[in-house]
């Protein structure tokens, strides 16, 4: 074994508890989904019940998670249960088993907690929709899949959830299937995710091939037995899966399109939970990634690029959900920056805080959309702070958090990420970019992104809630089922960092790099840290004030800037033209190849050969048939010459 960093997880004596109840966590939403699915045919006047059923089942799941989680608080290292042997072929064996340890415990709570709130919110949001039972069925199904993903004891269990959430995402994006673009977006999401999944599968194969097991604990413990190049290969392949699921460059294109789904879906799946699965997975396999420095470097760079690129695009979006979508991509980029630096626990920290404020933002946006009669264009909002007081307040709190303003939850998590990027002792530090270590360059981009984040979030806040109302229909506040979840989420968005940040980081520290533990207590004496903290704080304030100035005081600046650089503006609002790039580089060639394969290879070449053989035989038959002319003289000659020829042939032979 080379000098791999050790983590406390390996050292600590594991106390495992077998508890069947852990299966209740995913099963409750599943039951809900089946129940709702079975009652799809019922009459419309009972549709209102479906939302409550779904909410109750997801809340039940939250309670079950709390109960199991309490075991962890009481000192168990993990709670697990094997239901049955899923498949066992030769040396390959996978159990249908769930485990909750600290990492998955935190994720489970976030998923079920935030999930339940979003369920509640959706009751209001989907109030007038005809297909509510179907919606809540999918939503519960999603929760089930997500919980399998999080709780799965091995990579394959996780993969069930991984694909399951993809399916639900597909179904929910295309929920309003009568609009073809929605269906297209759903399919795009699924297929792009599948590209990632393909990589993930290959990674799984390498791990099984090398280690003979897919259990996370086995992988974590034995990863050092693998040759380094295979570690890198497995890590990068698994990371491809994460890139797909967590919408990183180059596979992020599906997420903005995914906003075609109902807003609660965007909040739950495409902000709070599913898209963070990639972060979760990398963290799960932290030992693997820590042993793969080059992969970590790749992750850093991709994370940084994604964060930056998405933030620039978010600057110019006018659809409020698109802004939030790119913001999500950007924040996910942050999380991967943390992972790339080996600060896994910081990444998870950001996952948690992001779940709070981004869910809150999305639901706020949803509330606005409902209030403005399904209008999503921010240019048609404005001045909504008066009619929609609660929505405004919660949105503002969440914006405060995401912008990284001091002592909001986003401030702590983002800051810890930036610090870990800056102080990354991994290979990023060793690479020299224009005289600076790469880690510092990445940090610089991270900082820039933080500025952009503050800017575009403030922009959305201002455009939506300040100024004059520019819409046509009168806006109104949403019902309590929608505002209550907003309020509940706004609170932790603001104060989670102060109250629980330290605890959380310690709680999931075993998945981090031992020398990378970032917490206030530990860093209290570090001057650089404080300096950087101040810088990022300043940047956030600057971003917010600049945006407030531009959009509140001098709106013309924005339009002039856009006009002064039209190409840049178009480039940004066309999302760096990545969709077009894909169309040109992948989709169209692939269609071309397929058509060639079908028309030329299949029809012309293969079938041509087959039919040609038949034709050739038949043509010879026709020739031979014509030779049978019916003329007696000809026949006589033929016979005699046939005799002579065969005799000659025989003699010569």
């Amino acid at each position: 074994m080379n000098n791999l960093p050790t983590t406390s997880a390996v050292v600590e004596q594991a106390l495992e508890i077998e508890k069947m109840g852990i299966f209740a966590i995913p099963l409750l939403p599943l039951i809900g989904a089946i129940f709702l699915g079975a009652s799809l045919g019922q009459s419309k006047d009972r549709h209102w019940q479906s939302g409550w059923v779904a909410t109750i089942f997801s809340a039940g799941s939250f309670v079950a998670s709390l109960l199991i989680f309490s075991e962890l608080i009481e000192g168990a290292s993990s709670v697990r249960f094997t239901a049955w042997e899923w498949m066992s072929v030769g040396s390959f064996s996978v159990a249908f088993a769930l485990t909750m340890d600290n990492l998955s415990g935190v994720m489970t709570l976030v998923v079920t907690g935030v999930g339940s709130l979003i369920h509640l919110y959706a009751i209001g949001y989907m109030d007038h929709d005809d297909s509510r039972p179907r919606f809540f069925c999918y939503l519960n199904l999603f929760l089930f899949s997500m919980l399998l993903l999080v709780l799965g004891e091995n990579l394959l269990m996780m993969f069930i959830g991984w694909e399951g959430v993809g399916l639900c995402s597909y179904l929910l994006i295309g929920f309003w299937y009568k609009e073809m673009p929605n269906a297209n977006a759903g399919q795009k999401a699924f297929v792009v995710n599948r590209i990632g999944d393909a990589g993930l599968l290959l990674g799984i194969f390498i791990l099984f091939w090398q280690l003979g097991s897919l259990n996370f604990t086995d992988i974590q413990a034995n990863v050092g037995l693998m040759p380094p190049y295979l570690i890198e290969a497995a890590a990068i392949l698994l990371f491809i899966g994460a890139v797909g699921k967590s919408a990183q460059i180059p596979l992020f294109v599906w997420l903005p399109d995914a906003m075609a789904g109902p807003t609660p879906v965007s909040a739950l799946i495409h902000a709070a939970t599913m898209v963070t699965a990639g972060v979760y997975m990398v963290t799960r396999l932290s030992m693997l990634y820590l042993s793969a420095p080059n992969t970590l470097l790749v992750i850093s760079v991709i994370g940084t690029c994604t964060a930056f690129v998405a933030a620039t695009i978010a600057l110019v979006q006018n659809d409020i959900k698109k802004v939030l979508a790119y913001s999500t991509v950007s924040q996910l980029g942050y999380m991967f920056m943390a992972l790339g630096a080996g600060a896994f626990s910081n990444g998870i920290y950001h996952v948690v805080t992001h779940a709070f404020f981004k869910a809150c933002l999305f639901m706020g946006a949803g509330s606005v959309i409902v209030g403005c009669h399904h209008e999503q264009d921010m240019r048609k909002f404005g001045g909504l702070r008066k009619p929609m007081k609660w929505t405004f307040l919660t949105y503002a709190f969440a914006t405060y958090a995401i912008a990284g303003l001091p002592y909001g939850s986003g401030f702590f998590s983002k800051d810890s990420i930036l610090w870990s990027v800056y102080s990354n002792p991994g290979s990023a530090a060793g690479i020299d970019v224009a005289g600076m270590p790469l880690s510092h360059v990445l940090w610089g981009f991270g900082l820039l992104t933080a500025f952009l984040t503050a800017f575009y979030m403030t922009r959305s806040l201002v455009l939506t809630f300040f100024g004059e109302y520019r819409g046509h229909h009168e806006a109104h506040e949403s019902p309590w089922t929608m505002t209550l979840p907003l309020i509940i989420l706004a609170v932790p968005s603001l104060i989670f960092g102060i109250l629980f940040g330290e605890t959380l980081i310690q709680f999931i520290a075993p998945w981090g790099r031992a020398d990378m533990l970032v917490g206030h207590a530990k860093l209290a004496e570090n001057h650089t840290y404080h300096l950087l903290e101040l810088v990022s704080m300043g940047v956030a304030v600057l971003g917010v004030s600049l945006a407030a100035f531009v959009y509140l005081v001098k709106p013309q600046i924005a339009s002039q800037t856009a006009k002064s650089a039209p190409k840049l503006y178009a480039f940004l609002s066309d999302k760096w033209r990545i969709d077009e790039l894909y169309a040109a580089v992948i989709i169209r060639p692939l269609t071309g190849i397929s058509n060639i394969a079908f028309r030329i290879i299949d029809r012309l070449f293969i079938d041509g050969t087959v039919n040609g053989t038949g034709f050739f035989v038949a043509a010879n038959g026709e020739l031979a048939r014509r030779a049978h002319s019916g003329r007696i003289a000809g026949y006589m000659l033929f016979m005699v010459f046939g005799l002579i020829a065969s005799l000659l042939f025989w003699i010569l032979l």
Binding site: A618, G621, H628, Y635, M636
Partner: protein
């Protein structure tokens, strides 16, 4: 002449006397001839059976009375019986005189075929050969008012006479080389291949090749098969071909088996050419009679495989079984065609494959018979045709001619196409839309004949094992 000799000659005597009796029948009787004809045929068979138990040649070494003869008698007589049964109802509709001379000719031809296969002397063989041929020349032309029939008869006659001259010349060469005309004595005297002997063999192959229609001596057969009344075509395809194969095989194996290596290459080539030409030309046929003619050419090519691989490889046995299965399938397929085309007023115009259109649904029994026989001809298991091919392939591989087996297999694929095309017309093109149709009720006799042949096709496929020992015994008789 011992008493047994007379007894052994009884099959021939019976057939000939009933045959000649038929000439006078119309003068004295008005009742149905069929029963008497069948009685003669089966009586001849009954008299022939005891021969099986006597392992000696009789009648001054002129005729073999062995299992081999009995085997071919059986095929010939059953083929003849089937011809009678199927003809009985339909000859009149084929513009053929229904007087008893047709029956006489058929009986004489059958008798000639039996003489051929049991001949132990080339003179006897020639007499049988000519008795068969001359009778069939007339039969071919029996629809005198049809141009096609007389043209067929002319062609058959001219080519037949021509090729029998070659056969005779071949026999003269063999006589010259061996100094005897007796088959067993020739067998003893043949030890090495002299040029004269080989030339004789070559000419014999011409003569017999004509009769069994091997390429390139087959040219007459499509025209004659198409021109003759369809009942007679069936008779030719079964009885004439089987009888010719029987004597051909006996001559080649008994007389020249010891120098097989010298003529195998010739027959190998002819076999491949025959099956290939037969099959590919059959692909392009529109007349069902002509198609079956080419198909029977191709089958002659397959059957030749047994000649090449005779001896320990079991080629003779394979050919015998092939003849058995071939007779069954051909009786069934031609029987069905007889029944169908005779339904038409102008059967010579309506012999196209398309005239079978939709019969599968209007005439299920006939169509089933035709379908099964065609599948069997194509070699689909578990039908007799498959087992026959299997035995041939086996003997070819055993004798070291794997390539020949492969070519035969590929030929089977080709043949599948034109056999299946008939099935397409029968079943796949919807209900019958033509303005004429065969009778719904085809009568008990034809039904029994067709059913027997069809069941036989299936049974000899599944239970070939129980028949094979007889074939082995039959072949052991002359080796």
């Amino acid at each position: 002449m011992s008493e047994f000799t007379v007894f052994a000659a009884m099959p021939f005597i019976l057939l000939l006397s009933v045959g000649f009796g038929m000439l006078c029948w119309d003068l004295f009787f008005k009742c149905d001839r069929l029963v008497w004809l069948l009685a003669a045929v089966f009586g001849a068979w009954g008299f022939a059976i005891p021969q099986y138990f006597v392992a000696e040649t009789t009648m001054n070494d002129l005729v073999y009375l062995d299992g081999y003869s009995l085997f071919f008698y059986t095929l010939i007589l059953f083929g003849t019986a089937a011809t009678f049964v199927l003809n009985h109802r339909y000859l009149a509709k084929q513009n053929v005189r229904t007087s008893s001379d047709i029956d006489m000719l058929i009986l004489l031809a059958a008798c000639g075929g039996m003489v051929m296969v049991s001949a132990a002397n080339l003179i006897v063989l020639f007499i049988g050969f000519e008795l068969l041929s001359v009778s069939v020349y007339v039969l071919c032309g029996s629809a005198r008012k049809e141009r096609a029939s007389s043209e067929g008869a002319l062609k058959y006659f001219l080519f037949g006479a021509f090729s029998s001259a070659f056969l005779l010349y071949g026999m003269a060469m063999v006589y010259g080389a061996c100094g005897t005309l007796s088959i067993p004595e020739i067998a003893e005297s043949v030890t090495s291949a002299t040029p004269m002997l080989l030339l004789g063999i070559g000419l014999l192959v011409f003569g017999f090749g004509f009769k069994v229609s091997l390429v390139p001596f087959h040219v007459w057969s499509p025209d004659v098969y198409q021109g003759a009344p369809v009942s007679i075509t069936g008779f030719m395809a079964v009885v004439v071909k089987v009888a010719a194969f029987g004597s051909f095989l006996r001559v080649m194996s008994v007389c020249f088996g010891s120098i097989q290596a010298d003529w195998a290459a010739l027959l190998w080539t002819i076999s491949i050419i025959t099956m290939t030409v037969g099959n590919i030309v059959a692909l392009r046929q529109t007349s069902i009679k002509r198609m079956l003619a080419y198909s029977s050419i191709a089958h002659a090519g397959y059957a030749l495989i047994g000649f090449i691989s005779m001896g320990d490889a079991g080629g003779v046995e394979a050919t015998l079984f092939y003849m058995l299965s071939y007779s069954l399938m051909t009786v069934a397929s031609f029987g069905a065609v007889i029944v169908v085309t005779s339904g038409s007023e102008a059967q010579y115009e309506n012999d196209s494959i398309d005239s079978l259109h939709g019969l599968g649904w209007s005439h299920p029994f006939i169509s089933l018979v035709l379908t099964v026989s065609l599948f069997s001809l194509a070699g689909i298991p578990p039908l007799a045709g498959f087992v026959g091919k299997f035995y041939l392939f086996k003997s070819a591989v055993t004798a070291g001619y794997t390539g020949l087996a492969i070519i035969a297999a590929l030929n089977s694929v080709v043949s599948l196409y034109y056999y299946l095309r008939v099935v397409v017309v029968l079943y796949f093109k919807g209900e019958r839309t033509l303005d004429w149709a065969p009778e719904k009720s085809i009568g008990a006799g034809p039904t029994i004949a067709l059913a027997t042949a069809t069941v036989g096709t299936l049974a000899f496929g599944l239970f070939a094992e129980y028949c094979y020992p007889f074939i082995v015994v039959a072949v052991n008789g002359f080796s």
